[in-house]
Symmetry: C2
Subunit: 416 residues, 2 copies
Amino acid sequence: MFLHALRRQRIPLARWSPARFIATKNVISDPMTGELMPSTPDIQPHRVEILRNANPATPPPAHTLVFGHTFTDHMLAIPWDAVSGWGTPEIKPYGPLQLEPSSTVLHYAQTIFEGMKAYRAEDGKVSLFRPDMNMKRFNSSARRLALPTFNGEALLDLIKHLIRIDQHWVPKEPGHSLYVRPTLIGTQKAIGVGPPNEALLFVIMSPVGPYYASGFKPVSLYGTTEYVRAAPGGTGAYKLGVNYAPGVLPQKSVAALGYSQNLWLHGPEHELTEVGTMNMFVVFSKDDGTIELVTPPLDGMILPGVTRDSVLTLAREHVSGKKRLQGLPDKLIVSERTVTMKEVKAAVAAGQLVEMFGAGTAAVISPVDRIGYMGEDVLIPTGEDGMGQISRPVWVELIGRQWGTIPSEWSVPVTE
Amino acid sequence: MFLHALRRQRIPLARWSPARFIATKNVISDPMTGELMPSTPDIQPHRVEILRNANPATPPPAHTLVFGHTFTDHMLAIPWDAVSGWGTPEIKPYGPLQLEPSSTVLHYAQTIFEGMKAYRAEDGKVSLFRPDMNMKRFNSSARRLALPTFNGEALLDLIKHLIRIDQHWVPKEPGHSLYVRPTLIGTQKAIGVGPPNEALLFVIMSPVGPYYASGFKPVSLYGTTEYVRAAPGGTGAYKLGVNYAPGVLPQKSVAALGYSQNLWLHGPEHELTEVGTMNMFVVFSKDDGTIELVTPPLDGMILPGVTRDSVLTLAREHVSGKKRLQGLPDKLIVSERTVTMKEVKAAVAAGQLVEMFGAGTAAVISPVDRIGYMGEDVLIPTGEDGMGQISRPVWVELIGRQWGTIPSEWSVPVTE
C-alpha cells in the first residue's frame, strides 16, 4: 500500500520517555525507575505575586449557603512545566481558567484534589485541621497520576496566605467553615496519553454550612453489587477525580430506589468498603460486653481519609489511656479489618450490631440506619438523635479539636 | 455544641434529584429510573453559527506531524444546560476554553471522548470510517457518566460540516489522516458530586501521520498484575477519561523495564483483556490445522472498539463466504472468549500460537512479539514485516475500506 513512501518512525510512546529532559543542568534519579530526571524548582512561597480583587464581593448570609456554590474573592494558582518546574505562585481574583481544548485534563482525567476546612474559633482566630495529612495525600495522588509532586509545607504556606487574605469569608456561625479545595490538573496541549509536560495547581475556597444542619439525620444505604467504586490494582486509595465521576450514575440509581448513598461492596463475600464518598465504620458488641470499632483496612481500595484516621486515633488514644474520652466504653477494641455483609447481617440478627457510620471531611460523622441488600432492608440501630454510643463521644472530641474548643496539635493556626 | 443554633437541613444529595427539572413544560420519563425528566432541545445542526478564523494557519508539512500536537483552524462547540437543553452549535476559530475553576470536569473527571479519522482518497474526496459506531459509543459513555445524551446523526452532521470547512487540513500523503476528537465535559460551576447541570461538547481535529511510519514494528508487552485497567462493575466498557489517566504510571513502569505497553491481565487466572489503549487479538492453530482468531468478549471490562468490531466482522464475513479475503485460511474460527496467560504460554510451547496483535483507531493493527510475564519473556511469532498470516489480509482489507480504495458502506462521504 503506502509503506514504501514512509521513512521515519513516529511512535507517541517516545514522548513518554524522560530522555527529553536530560538537557537541563540539574538531574536527579527517578526514585521509581532509576532513570535520570530533571531537578527543577519546587514551589517557592516567597515568590508569590498578589493581585487584589478590585471588586470584592460581600460574603452572603450564612443561612443562604449551599455546599460548594459560593467562592471567595481570591484563588491561588501555581503553574508547572517539565522544563522550568514550579513557577511563580499567584494569588489573584477568583475567575475562569483559560484552557486549551487539547488540555489533557479535559480528555484523560488528569486531575487530583483535596478537601480541607478552615474553622473560626470563638475568639475569631482561624485554623486548619491536620492540613499536613492533606498535603501528604495530595503528593501521593500526584505520584499515582504521574503529575508533578511538590513540597507540601510550601503549598500549605501559600494556602494559609490565601486564607488570611480572604479570612472574612470564614463564617462565624456555629458549625460553618471555609471549605478549601486544592486541585492539580494536567494541561499538556496535546492529545497523547502520557505524563503531562504542563500542569496547573490551583486552590479555591467556598464558605459552607454544616452538612446536617438540623441534627444527625441518619442515611440509608443500598448495598451495591452492580457497580464498584474501586478494585484491587485500581486507584481507590488515592484522591483522584477518576474515583468520583463514575459514582454519579450508581448514586442516581439508588436515589430512585429511595436510598441515600451507595454502600460499595467488594468481591464474592460482599466486603464493605466505603459509603458514597466517605470512609465507613461498623461497631459490634461481643458476648463479654467488649465493643469493637471496625473500619476496612488500607488495602489499596480504601481512601486514607483524614477523618478516618482521626476517628481511629481518638479511639486508640482512649484505649491506651493517652486521652480517655467520656462516654466511650472501657472494653473497646479498635480494628482495621475486613467486614462482610454476612457478618453485618448476623450481628444485626443477634442484636450485636451497635451502630454504623460514614466519616469524611464534609459530613464529619454520618450515621446509617438502613441497608438495602439483596432484596431486603437490614435495619441498623441509631441513637435518639442519630448518633450512637461510639460515634457521639468521638464526634464531640473531633469537632472540639476542629473548632479549637479542645486544644490539640491537630489544629494549625492560620491567623494570629 | 452548636446544633441548637441550626434550623435548616442542607444536604448536597438533594441536588442529585431530577425533581428540580420538573418546572419545565415538557417532561419525559427517565428510561432508567422511571422518574420524570425534562424534554429539552436536542442538537440542532441547522442552527449552527459559523465564525471563520480570520488568521488561518498553513497546515505544516506532513513529515513534521507529531500525533495530536497540531490542530486545525476551527473547532465545534455545543453548550448544554439542564433547563435549555442543547444550545446553538458554533463552528469557530480553534482557541482556549474559558472554564470556571469550580467546573466539575476539573475535579471529578466528568469527561468522555471519541477518536475517529477522516481519510482522503486518491481522488481527493474525504470520508469518515464507521462514524455511526463512534456516535453510538459516545452516547453510551454519556449515559454512564450521567452526562446529557444527544442525537448522534445530528452531531455527525455538524462534524462533517466542520471537516468540510477545514478539509484542506486532511493530509494527502499516504497513510496520513485527520484525527477527529469529540469530547463532552461537565461544566457545572459548583464542587458537588452529581449529574452536572451544565456541559460542553466540543470537537477538535489534528492532522496525523501513520502510527508505524517505517513498517509494522512489533511491540513488546509486559503482563501487568500490579495494576488493572478495568474491573467488573467498573467503567472499562465505556470511553471515559477516567480509564486513561491511571494507565500513565503503569506505562512508565513497563517502559523502564524495556517494554512498550501494558498487557492488562484480569483475575487469578490472568485473563488477557487489553493492550495499552488497544483491544487485542490472539491467533491459535489447532491440531487439525484450523485457525482460531480470538478476542476477549464484551463482558463489561472491554472497550467496544470500532477496529475490534471491524476485524471481527471482516473475519466472520470471510468465514460465511459473504466476502472472502485473499490470504485468510479456509478453516477459520472467530471467537469472542476469555484467553488466559496459561493458554498463551501452552500454545507458544506447542508451536500453536500463530500471532497476537492490538487493534485500535490510532495504530489500526499493532503486532506483538514478546510478553514479559512472571519473570520470563514469552516470545510471540511475527511475520517477516511484523504482520502475521491473519492480521495482514485483515489489515489490507481494513485500510482499503478506510481510504476508499475498497468500496464499502463503512466509508461515509464527507465531501462531494
